[in-house]
């Protein structure tokens, strides 16, 4: 029992950290990757999207800006689209790359509450982000198809800028 509680605590800490990193990495990717930026620009301006774990987090909440960038919001901001993992363990599987986002959808691990087309856009952004920031061998497990056109140089330079952006946001508390 005690061992189980420790495992749950560790998983929660891991998912909380990953949610923070992924949310903030999406913000950076919207600044450095044209594809992600185009996807966000296709959302209605001011559209608030949230990804969280039932029943009460962890999670992240972002707002789509007119220029295709994303802004960090507090988790109590009402969202237009909320993707909720049904259980912490399901979120852990996705963020530890044991299950891709698409597979998690297919396996009913999460519920999309909001406009489905925007959920699809968010999944594409997550796929692109994971392809950039993860080693290719790991990214291939996390996405349906690893982008053929993503050259090593581009991947490396974008990943560097995204990780720097994440660090900067965390340090500055933005």
């Amino acid at each position: 029992m005690k061992k189980h509680n420790i495992t749950v605590g560790l998983e929660k800490a891991y998912v909380t950290t990953m949610m923070t990193i992924v949310g903030r990495a999406l913000i950076s990717a919207s600044q450095y990757d044209d594809e992600v930026r185009r996807e966000i620009a296709g959302m209605p301006t001011g559209y608030v999207l949230s990804m969280t774990v039932m029943p009460s987090g962890p999670g992240f909440t972002l707002r789509a800006e007119k220029d295709g960038s994303l802004t960090w919001l507090s988790n109590d901001t009402p969202a237009d689209l909320t993707i909720r993992f049904k259980h912490l363990e399901h979120a852990f599987m996705v963020f530890s790359f044991q299950e891709s986002t698409s597979r998690a959808f297919a396996n009913d691990r999460m519920i999309a509450d909001g406009e489905v087309s925007q959920a699809i856009r968010l999944v594409r952004c997550l796929n692109k982000l994971e392809s950039i920031i993860l080693p290719k061998v790991v990214a291939k497990l996390a996405v349906k198809r690893y982008p053929e056109k993503l050259a090593v140089g581009e991947k490396f330079s974008k990943a560097l800028r995204i990780y720097a952006g994440v660090t900067q946001q965390i340090v500055k508390g933005r």
Binding site: I111, D113, G114, K144
Partner: protein
């Protein structure tokens, strides 16, 4: 390889076969219903299909309390509200939907309002937003295609905002589906063909997409077999009651399959084409099916290969080497489409529809890219991929 997981849910009681309609009064009595309201459309009523149902109440101690026959081809919030008012005015306690997809979706919407109270359907839109079981809903399909009688979804148009509101909840599952051959016997050939290929697509995509599971596979492959074995016979002899019943059962089985296993790229493209060029859903399904299977083959060729057995039968399957089965299954579907084109001009290409301009391909592809079903497609599809599939389907 990912560890498998699936969910399957289908609590709908199937009441199927000869004189099935005459079971309705008993089934309603058994769950304490005394004042059912029929929801239908004028076309269904005019051809006498509602009479088949009301006649089934003759000689019983139950009667139909009200009939609402004003459902348009695209169900809307206003229609739902009007039907809910009729239900309340007549103090009804159950719904009997008689019709195709629009009627069934309308009935599901009405059931939300009359069970939950109020007139604002929009607050229940989305996934799992219904808090409890709804009032009894029985469905008598008059087409063999949508499968809505076995699904947990409904789509209702908000005509003022020009959007379509999706509803998904376990509580939207009807209590019973009544499949009686009399209800589809008079369907015209082109509607028979379109709806059957709609059901075929539900089954094929359920079997070949990401959420496929052993339960949905069983329903899907049985549905494919029934359509394959009976569609051309029914096209040749439309008054073939047994064949009609087989197609109706196939449609419901395909509905149960895709309600649990979802659908993929054929539907993404079909929804987009339907929205841009205002073409019937079943036509779009028939059109895109082989092109999408060809596209997906590199990822799920083994699953497509399985389809050869229910599509073409044991002899063809056994005589075809494993490596050729996927191609042969796709070829078989193409052959079915050719035959349907000869019999009722059901288009096989975008050009054959006569309603699509080649310049619209970009718009259709962009719309398909954001369609919800694309996430369940086994192979990732970019905008360029979709344009390529659409170009391939041009002529």
């Amino acid at each position: 390889m990912a560890q498998s997981y699936y969910e399957f849910f289908c609590p709908v009681k199937m009441i199927a076969g000869h004189k099935a309609l005459e079971h309705i009064p008993f089934e309603l009595t058994a769950i304490g219903v005394s004042r059912p309201m029929i929801i239908t459309d004028k076309g269904v009523r005019q051809v006498g299909l509602v009479d088949h149902v009301t006649n089934a109440f003759d000689g019983t101690d139950r009667e139909v309390a009200a009939i609402f026959d004003d459902v348009p081809p695209d169900s809307s919030l206003k229609t739902v509200q009007a039907a809910a008012k009729a239900y309340r005015d007549q103090q009804c306690d159950a719904i009997l939907a008689i019709g195709g997809g629009s009627v069934i979706d309308t009935a599901k919407g009405v059931n939300i309002l009359v069970s939950e109270g109020g007139n604002d359907l929009t607050k229940y839109s989305g996934a799992h937003n219904l808090p409890k079981k709804l009032n009894p809903l029985f469905v008598v399909p008059t087409t063999a295609g949508t499968g809505s009688e076995a699904t947990m979804v409904a789509v209702i148009s908000d005509t003022e905002k020009e959007t379509k509101l999706p509803f998904a909840s376990y509580f939207l599952m009807p209590d019973a589906a009544i499949l009686d051959p009399r209800m589809t016997l008079t369907l015209p050939p082109h509607i028979t063909a379109m709806t059957a290929m709609d059901a075929m697509t539900h089954a094929v995509e359920s079997y070949t997409c990401l959420s496929a599971n052993p339960m949905s596979d069983a329903y899907a492959s049985a549905a494919i077999r029934k359509i394959s074995e009976n569609l051309m016979d029914v096209m040749a002899t439309p008054d073939n009651a047994q064949g009609r019943l087989e197609l109706a059962q196939a449609s419901t089985m395909a509905g149960a399959a895709f309600s649990n296993a979802m659908v993929g790229l054929v539907h993404s493209l079909g929804h987009a084409l339907g929205a841009v060029c205002h073409l019937p859903h079943g036509l779009c399904m028939n059109l895109f099916l082989p092109y999408v299977l060809d596209y997906n083959k590199s990822v799920n060729g083994d699953k497509i290969a399985d389809l050869l057995l229910p599509l073409a039968g044991a002899d063809v399957y056994a005589n075809t080497p494993q490596a050729q089965r996927a191609d042969k299954a796709i070829a078989h579907l193409r052959q079915m489409r050719d035959e349907l084109f000869e019999r009722c001009n059901l288009p096989r290409t975008l050009k054959e529809t006569g309603k699509v301009e080649r310049s619209q391909i970009q718009q259709i592809a962009e719309k398909a890219l954001d369609d919800g079903s694309i996430i369940y497609n086994p192979k990732e599809a970019s905008l360029e991929d979709l344009i390529q599939v659409l170009e391939g389907a041009w002529e």
